[in-house]
Symmetry: D3
Subunit: 134 residues, 6 copies
């Protein structure tokens, strides 16, 4: 699997620490979303019913982890000044977590849906890293 080009530059692992266990990194959500995408690709390429059942079981778990890691960023990393500077942030996170849920990557095994999720996480990731440079 080749990652869409836009995802690679911003995901170097860095650490941040302003609270108990204050290490945040969008890579956690991104890795799980890449897993979701890979599962969709393999699901479409394989008709075996046992394989497909397993793919859906695992995709459900990975997509739940995407939601969890995004929720943590939204609640624990981003603060009031960030939401003032980036007023679209709330909607971005709400849409991204919806894209990982029943109306997105949980409810669909279409790789294109997983790509939408990856793109949305990349938008969040860009804002995240921009806030680290101030």
């Amino acid at each position: 699997m080749r990652l869409p080009r836009l995802l690679t530059p911003s995901t170097v692992v860095r650490a941040h620490c302003d609270l108990p266990c204050g290490v945040y990194d969008p890579a956690q959500a991104l890795i799980e979303a890449q897993s979701v995408k890979a599962i969709c690709d393999k699901y479409q390429a394989n008709q075996d019913p046992e394989f497909r059942s397993r793919a859906l079981i695992i995709k459900e778990q990975r997509a739940e982890l995407v939601k969890h890691h995004l929720w943590v960023l939204w609640t624990d990393y981003f603060k009031a000044p960030h939401f003032e500077k980036y007023p679209e942030l709330h909607a971005l996170f709400n849409e991204a977590t919806k894209l990982a849920g029943a109306s997105g990557a949980k409810g669909s095994a279409d790789p294109a849906v997983a790509d939408q999720l990856l793109t949305k996480i990349d938008e969040i990731s860009k804002i995240f890293w921009a806030t680290k440079q101030n």
Copy 2:
């Protein structure tokens, strides 16, 4: 927290996919280990007993995640040819997971112990990325 220099270059997020959900990345273990390190730093700097209890609770969880992510790499990513080429790999993973456990970062709140864990994960990480280039 500044990361030790040696950790940064090899941890760009990439994806690998040769099995169902075949995305592996040492960054998952690394991020949790960075969290363990940050918790140790804050623990040493804070005498409040409530804060310290919380730090130990959270450190226990994060260190367990370090072990889990390393175990997954050892069992699911690395294959027989890797172990032939890198005969030290088994011991490296055994030592790294011990360093995340009772005799390491779970059993100690000393940041130096967490640093040993980070260094060991970096050794694994270098081998991991070397195997991706062949």
Copy 3:
């Protein structure tokens, strides 16, 4: 423990079903937050160090469940038209989940902090039930 008066009327359990497993109820977050409040009360009334350690362990778990149940409501129940009608909803959920986290009921054993969390959940609960009547 007496519940603040304002919490009781809106929390009759009802069910909603417009998606796979589409049952939502703010009572799930509320019950866990009541537990957090009760733990804080007992923590303040008991000096035994074993009891206090256990209280902090359990409070951490319950507060995490509060966050989880609120995140589920925010992502899975509420839709675009709700956010248009109640533009304060995003901030309400962000503040409520922060109040359950490190800067709120996880980071403090003060019953007054738990009360702030209960009040915020009640605000969300009122909007939730208002959306059910249309």
Copy 4:
């Protein structure tokens, strides 16, 4: 989904606190059982194999939560005097948790089985609230 009439009156959320984290409420089991029921309804109405696999995955999780919440009530809330006054309580809980398991709502996607579970939880709920009024 309309709830059976008999379920609604007894499920106002209240709190109880006689032990560390002593908040108990049958609503926790009830909400998960309502979810199981809703999943069965949707399963029967939808022939898509992906949807059906997801419904079974989620039903398994929700039914497990029903069992867990009921077990907690049986072990942690109810005391010896309750079991003396309501000698049928042990059997009620055993039957209810069986109805959430392999021989009940886990093993079947029939909404009628989920209804039996809801009815059994309602019997437990009535006894629970009766014990609160003494």
Copy 5:
């Protein structure tokens, strides 16, 4: 740690299979309860506050696993004819799970409390193995 004599004869691992995943063995609860006992012993022998906090964190988890494994036996393995033949079974399980909870091994670090739990599990274990021989 030497196990009390009465525990050893009945705990040979055997398998039973009359339902999906129908393998039951009281050894699962017993091993976790032995862990709880060992933690209590070490807690009493060590005054280091970090060690003691960790002991309480881990004891809480192990005791929860004891409860879970016992609940599974009570709901999933034992059937109506067993409860007729052994009318004390319901109370035995209720007392055993209470002994693993707040009023028992969770709420106390006294090895004598853990011993009571081990004894109660042994009583259950004897009945379990008796039902296997018919």
Copy 6:
């Protein structure tokens, strides 16, 4: 289900305690692997698609527990002198956990694969008990 003869003699539950919560027993991995085997048998004997989906869901969970219990033994119980005396131990654990994963009992519902896993756990079990007698 009859267990292969070779598995029974070495699995008497014993306890070991040289670290916080130092109770180890290969029976934990073995019981879950027996469950995986039983699920495979029932899967092959039943064509009902709902039953088969549930079997795959539960097999995935049980196989994950096999991996977890084996990883714990490998990291937490076995020490450097053990690995010197039994140089095949690393490979044994790596193969056993692979046999519980995607290339083994997770990826296949063939009872013969589950038997290979049981045999491998028995090899580990024999070494484990041999180390207890010194």
